[in-house]
């Protein structure tokens, strides 16, 4: 039916060729294709990819950890978020050589919904965190930490490490506690935060003025190093279901 249609249209256009200089769309046929497994691979393109693929694969398959339970990403808390933020806190404490009070990771920065139990590869961490964001250590006054927890509350909850707890009440934070104690607005706290947020991303521009120390390492690499070290030490990554952010309805 469509074919006949098209033929008639070309005939029609010929008759008007000399009458007008402008061109108009006479017929649009949309045929979007899904690139499924049924398509053969183009050999030239496959051979162009091959050496790159080899190099990527060799590094991606390295096993750097084992996980006791499946980790799933959820708001306001999740075992995946807890695990990720705790890894940042632990590893950055080593880098900074001082105790870090807490770590924060923006929810959108974690790019896969879950990590299966069992072996963890480098490739999995790349999927989890493809962005080349660096980790910064910030010295924040209590009032700024409160602004941050308010922002996290407004966004429905982000991954936060052990050491920080609060309650979401009507899209803001209440009962903020650091290391088990009520937040002191004039005290200084040390936080590990990806540069994306520390530089004002996700409406966290209030962090821009905070004194900072650059770890000069990607968030992803910090997690990979953390896993590698604990794997070498024979430790299994444990899912932690603790509720660091409560919601008051």
């Amino acid at each position: 039916m469509m074919k006949r249609h098209v033929i008639f249209l070309s005939i029609l256009s010929i008759s008007i060729w000399s009458c007008s200089s402008k061109t108009y769309i006479a017929d649009l046929d949309v045929n979007t294709s899904e690139i499924s497994q049924d398509y053969q691979e183009d050999a030239e393109i496959a051979s162009l990819i091959e050496p790159y693929k080899k190099e990527v694969t060799a590094q991606m398959v390295e096993i750097i950890g084992t996980l006791d339970k499946k980790l799933t990403k959820r708001r306001p808390n999740s075992n995946l978020g807890n695990w990720f933020a705790d890894a940042l806190k632990d590893e950055s404490s080593r880098l900074y050589k001082k105790q870090i009070d807490f770590a924060v990771q923006n929810y959108g920065g974690i790019r896969i919904p879950s990590v299966s139990a069992g072996e963890i590869t480098v490739g999995k961490i790349f999927e989890l965190m493809p962005f080349d964001n660096k980790l910064l250590i910030l010295e924040c006054d209590g009032a700024t930490v409160k602004k941050l927890t308010d922002r996290i509350a407004e966004k429905g909850g982000w991954p936060i490490s052990a050491g920080l707890t609060f309650t979401i009440v009507d899209e803001h934070s209440e009962d903020v506690k650091i290391n088990g104690e009520a937040i002191d607005m004039s005290a200084t706290y040390i936080a590990a935060i990806p540069d994306y947020i520390a530089n004002g991303g996700d409406n966290c521009e209030f962090l821009l003025d905070m004194k900072r120390y650059d770890t000069e390492k990607y968030v992803r690499d910090i997690v990979i190093e953390h896993l590698r070290r604990e794997y070498k030490e024979g430790e299994t990554q444990m899912a932690d279901p603790s509720k660091r952010i409560a919601i008051k309805k």
Binding site: I11, L12, I14, T32, L48
Partner: protein, 306 residues
């Protein structure tokens, strides 16, 4: 959409008009307007290989080598093919982290991409990272609303490009999204973002009226549509004129068929976007006419699975 084309043609045939033009059409001296086949991708995000078979929603889909095979097949059947990309070529798999986009650009060159615009993630390796990959591209990048004058890309990115396909003049320009708060400043540096509606209108008018292009296409990385008034493909379509087709990106929208909107002159603008990750290859086959009948668009979107 505007006219029931088939009915019009069938009426013409009944009244004998169709028959007489049919005879004219057989004269050897008659010129036939060429047909154009536009292929397009957006937000491929460094998906070189198909999604792994891990039970995920997209498992087994996509892959540059398969896309290339399909493009080759279409080229063997169609004479006037334009292959276009609407940005966010980079970021999303380790291929980008390892090689900075080199393979992505080399593959697009080999597949014969004609033109691309710049997405926000194409700045993820910094504007210097993007500049570094340009020697691997045998196609151009266009943007009409990023001013690169005070950057390393100065003189390397034009607002538009005009293609001549069997006598058809096709003008293609690019539009990019606001970078502030989306991309760290240290990555895009002194790139200046200009109003896409003003710049888009300016270049579209120039292409349509001064350059006398038969077709004006916008490669957009603005995003399909937003709940608020943020500038998008829909806002662009409705508040400008002289753009025929907007091939979009950024919002990773899988459109089951193109969205048709009216521009400020009441003419139809076709908006299409094909998801992300190279899962789909968009294809618009266009036939032209010289009579202003208003665009008659008969869109069907068939998902070819084999």
């Amino acid at each position: 959409m505007t006219i029931n084309r088939r009915q019009f043609i069938e009426n013409s045939i009944l009244t004998g008009v169709g028959l007489s033009t049919g005879i004219l059409g057989k004269l050897p001296t008659e010129k036939v307007l060429p047909k154009l086949c536009i292929l397009h991708t957006n937000d491929v995000h460094s998906r070189i290989e198909p999604f792994p078979m891990d039970g995920g929603r997209n498992q087994g889909l996509g892959g540059a080598a398969r896309r290339a095979a399909l493009i080759k097949k279409i080229r063997s059947e169609e004479q006037n093919v334009l292959l276009l990309d609407s940005g966010d070529i980079f970021q999303g798999t380790p291929y980008f982290n390892f090689f900075g986009g080199e393979l992505e650009i080399k593959l697009m060159s080999q597949m014969g991409y004609d033109l691309a615009t710049i997405g926000n993630h194409d700045f993820d390796g910094g504007i210097d990272g993007l500049h570094k990959q340009l020697p691997h591209a045998n196609f151009d990048f266009v943007s009409a609303n990023y001013n690169f004058d005070n950057t390393i890309l100065n003189g390397k990115v034009n607002s538009h490009k005009i293609f001549n396909k069997a006598g058809l003049k096709v003008g293609v320009f690019g539009l990019g999204i606001e970078l502030n708060s989306l991309v760290p400043k240290e990555l895009y540096k002194e790139t200046q973002y200009l109003d896409p509606l003003i710049q888009g209108q300016k270049i579209a008018s120039r292409l349509k009226n001064d350059e006398k292009c038969d077709l004006v296409i916008c490669l957009s990385h603005l995003g399909y549509n937003y709940r608020d008034n943020k500038v998008s493909d829909v806002v662009l379509a409705q508040n400008t004129s002289d753009i025929d087709i907007i091939l979009g990106g950024h919002t990773h929208t899988f459109m089951s068929k193109p969205d048709i909107r009216r521009n400020t002159k009441g003419e139809e603008v076709i908006i299409n976007q094909v998801g992300w990750a190279g899962i789909m290859l968009g294809r618009l086959d266009i036939e032209f006419e010289h009579a202003k009948k208003g665009k008659c668009v008969s869109c069907k979107n068939s998902l070819i699975n084999s």
